[in-house]
Amino acid sequence: MEIGAAVASLDPDVPAATPEEATAKLQIDSLIFDHRDADGAFAGAAGSGAFRVTSWEAAGRATLAVLAANEEFREGRPFVDSIEITTGRAARERLVDLELNKADLTEIAPQDARRAAEQGVRISASQPDELLALVFVGGNAKADAVTKAASQANEQARRASAEPAMGQALSLAIDRVAIVNFILQKTGEAAGGLLPQWSSGTAFLFPAAAPSAGDLEHAKELWKQIAPSGALVLGYDSADPLEQSVAERIVVNAKEAGMSVRAQPIPGAGAQKSRGAAGQAPRVDMELVRWRMTSPLPGVTLKDFLTRIYSEFLASFGAAAFPEIASPEDIYKQQRVVLSTYRVVPLVWLPQVYGLSARVRDWKAPGPGENWPLADVWLDTETPTLTPTGVQ
C-alpha cells in the first residue's frame, strides 16, 4: 500500500513532524502492536500485532516498510502474507502506481476522488469525518502582544476583540456549498456545526446553505462596523493544495461581501498544528485547520475539538468538564455556545478516500478511531487485472 505522508521513523520515541506523519505512524503501529491500552498507548512489543516489520528502507523522503504476517497473532494470522508500505509518495505518483498495479491500496485526496473514479479507479470512502474549519488565532496571540510595541499590541488586541464580528461576517459570506461542489467535486459535505450529521444527528440544525443576498448585506454591515486597518490574513498550510484552494475561495467570497482578506501560505503549518493548538503561526489573524474525528461518538469528538479550539481558555468555556457521554441536547447546546463566539467557523466535512486495486477484497474504509483493516483484507489473485501490457 502507499501513503502520502512521509514517515521518517517507526521509533515511538521519534516524534512525527506533521499530523499526516503522525496519522500514518499511528496506522502502522496499529498493525504491529497487539492492542491499545485505555489511554490510547500501544501495548505489547513491536511485532505482537497482526504484522511484524521485516525491513525498513529510507530513500530520501520516501520510505519502504515491509511487514510480514504474524503467524502467532492472538486474533489469528492475517490473510495476506506480507504488506509493503511506501510512504512519502506524492498524490499523482500514488494514483499512477495504482493504475499500473504497482499498488493495491492508496490514500487519495478528497478533491481528487471524483476524477480518479472517472478514470476507472476503484474508490472507497469513509463517512465524512474530517472537519476543515477556519479558526481565529487572536486569543492565542494576546500573550505575545504585550511584549511588542504598544501600537502593534493595541491593534492586535483590537482585532482580537473584533473577532466575533469578523467571524460572523466571514461565516455569512463563505459559500460552503461552492467549496463542496467545485473544489471538492462533491466529495464532502458543507459544515455548519462542529459534528457531522451521521455522528450527532443534529447537524441539520446548523444550516450551511450558500449565502443569500441578505447574508452578504449583513456581512457588509458587520465589516463596516469593525473597520479593520488592513486586510485580514488567512493562513494555510503551504503543502496542502486543498487548503490553498479553499483559502483562495474564501478570499473571493470575502471580497464579494466587501471584506478584505489575504491568503498567506505558511510553510510547515501542519507541523505546528500537530503540536497542539492552532494559531502558533505568526502574523495571521486566522488559519485553516483540518481536524480528524477521534471517535464516532459525538461527545468524544466534541470534547477533543473543544480542547483544540480553547487550549488556553478551557476553564472559561468548560470544555474540560464537558462529558464525553452527553445527551444530544447537551451536544447541540455546547456547539451552539462555541459557534456563537465565531472563534471557529466550520466549512466542510471531508471523508477519507482510498483507491483500491481490483484484487483487494473485504476492505472497509475505517471510521474515526479505527485502524486500517489490513489483517482482514485478502487478495483475489484470480481476478484479471489490466496492465499496460495486457492482462496479468
Binding site: S327, P328, Y332
Partner: protein
C-alpha cells in the same frame, strides 16, 4: 405507473376509510392516546418528554405539526411516532390544526426525526412563535435504536393465505363463491365485462350453468370495474346496477345508476396509506382495523398483497404480517361482507390468464 382504475379504486378505499373514520370519530381521541401504547416504552417516554417540553415552552394553543424524517426509520415507524406525538400534544390540550387550514393563526411545529451514530434524535422546532420575541427553544430528545426491531416484531400479528379458485383467458371483474340455498351445492359467480356467468360443480371443475348479458357503458371503458354484492343481491357496474334473486343465479334486471361522486369529499392525510389497490377486511385484529394492499408497481410487473393495521383514521396504517407474492398484477381486491377474506383478481403475466383467489387474513392473537 398504475392505470387509472387503480387510482380510482384507491380513492374509493380512501373514501371508505374516511367513512370508517367518521364512524369511529367519537372514539378517535381515545385511539390517539392508544397509539402511544403501540410504541416501545423508551420511544413512548421520548414522545412524552418531547410533548412535555413543548408544553413548557408554549401555552396550549392551535398548532400544526410538520414532519421530516431524515433518519433510517421507515415511513410506517415515522408515522407511528408522529401519531404518538400528536396524541401527546393533545394530552397537553394543544389543538392540532390541519396543515392547510388555520395555518395563519396556528403555531407551526417542525418535527425532525433524525439519528446519531448511537441513537435516534427527535427534534421539535417552533417555527413562528412570536409570543416571547426571542428565539424559541429547540426540543431535543433521544430514543434508543435497539427498540426498533422489537417494534417491528410487535407489529407482525397478521397471517395472510391465498386460495386459488378460478382462471380463464378473458378478463373478469369480480367473482363469488356461495352455496345454493335449496340444493346446498356450491355456485361460482363470475362477473365479466359484458356478461355474468354462473358455474356449478362438475367433477373436479366447474361447468357453465347460465350466462346473462350485461348492459355496456357508452363509450365503453378500457378500465372497466364491477362488484358482486351478494348481501344486497346486486351487481354494480360502471353506470348500471343489476338485481337478481338471493344468490344472483337467476334472471338479472339491470337499471342505469348514477356513478359515485366524490365531490366535496374531505381529503385526509393518512400516514402509511399506499397509492395502490386496497380494501378493508370486515373483521378486526386486536381491536384494530385490517386493510390489505397490493404493491405499487404497474400492470407489467409481478405483484403482492400485504396487510396493514390501524386503530382508526387518521392514525397511521402499520404494516403487519407476511406478504403474498403473485405472478402478475392484482387487478382488483373486493372485501367480503362479514368474514376476514377478500377476493383478488389477478392477471397472470406468465400464462396470460386471469385468475381468482380468496385471500384470508388471520389474526395471530
Amino acid at each position: 405507473m398504475r392505470p387509472s382504475c387503480r387510482f380510482l379504486l384507491t380513492i374509493r378505499v380512501a373514501l371508505y376509510t374516511i367513512l370508517i373514520g367518521l364512524f369511529v370519530g367519537a372514539t378517535s381521541r381515545a385511539s390517539d392516546a392508544q397509539a402511544t401504547s403501540t410504541l416501545p416504552k423508551p420511544w413512548n417516554d421520548a414522545t412524552a418528554r418531547l410533548a412535555d417540553e413543548v408544553a413548557a415552552a408554549l401555552s396550549p394553543t392551535s398548532v400544526t405539526l410538520d414532519v421530516e424524517n431524515i433518519s433510517s426509520l421507515d415511513d410506517a415507524a415515522a408515522a407511528t411516532i408522529e401519531a404518538a406525538i400528536r396524541a401527546q400534544l393533545q394530552r397537553h390540550s394543544f389543538s392540532l390544526a390541519p396543515e392547510n387550514a388555520a395555518a395563519q393563526s396556528a403555531i407551526r411545529l417542525q418535527l425532525s426525526l433524525s439519528e446519531s451514530v448511537a441513537e435516534y434524535v427527535w427534534v421539535i422546532q417552533i417555527l413562528n412563535d412570536q409570543s416571547s420575541g426571542t428565539a424559541a427553544p429547540l426540543m431535543i430528545v433521544a430514543a434508543p435504536k435497539a427498540d426498533f426491531a422489537d417494534a417491528g416484531a410487535e407489529a407482525r400479528s397478521l397471517s395472510l393465505e391465498k386460495r386459488f379458485v378460478w382462471k380463464q383467458p378473458g378478463k373478469f371483474l369480480d367473482f363469488a363463491l356461495l352455496k345454493d340455498s335449496i340444493s346446498g351445492e356450491s355456485i361460482l359467480l363470475v362477473l365479466e365485462t359484458d356478461h355474468f356467468a354462473v358455474y356449478k360443480p362438475s367433477g373436479a371443475g366447474w361447468q357453465l350453468f347460465r350466462t346473462s348479458p350485461l348492459p355496456q357503458a357508452t363509450p365503453p371503458s378500457r378500465d372497466a370495474q364491477g362488484t358482486i354484492m351478494l348481501k344486497e343481491g346486486k351487481i354494480s357496474l360502471q353506470g348500471f346496477e343489476c338485481f337478481g334473486d338471493s344468490d344472483l343465479a337467476g334472471v338479472l334486471r339491470c337499471n342505469a345508476s348514477k356513478p359515485i361522486q366524490s365531490v366535496g369529499a374531505v381529503r385526509m392525510k393518512i400516514p402509511g396509506f399506499p397509492t395502490s389497490v386496497g380494501t378493508d377486511v370486515a373483521q378486526k385484529c386486536r381491536g384494530e382495523f385490517v386493510f390489505l394492499f397490493t404493491a405499487e408497481g404497474d400492470w407489467t410487473q409481478p405483484d403482492s398483497i400485504s396487510g396493514r393495521l390501524t386503530k382508526g383514521i387518521p392514525l397511521p396504517l402499520v404494516p403487519s404480517g407476511n406478504t403474498l407474492e403473485f405472478d402478475g398484477p392484482v387487478m382488483a381486491l373486493h372485501s367480503g361482507p362479514e368474514d376476514s377474506s377478500v377476493r383478488a383478481i389477478l392477471h397472470n403475466l406468465k400464462s396470460g390468464e386471469y385468475e381468482a383467489y380468496v385471500v384470508t387474513a388471520t389474526c395471530n392473537n
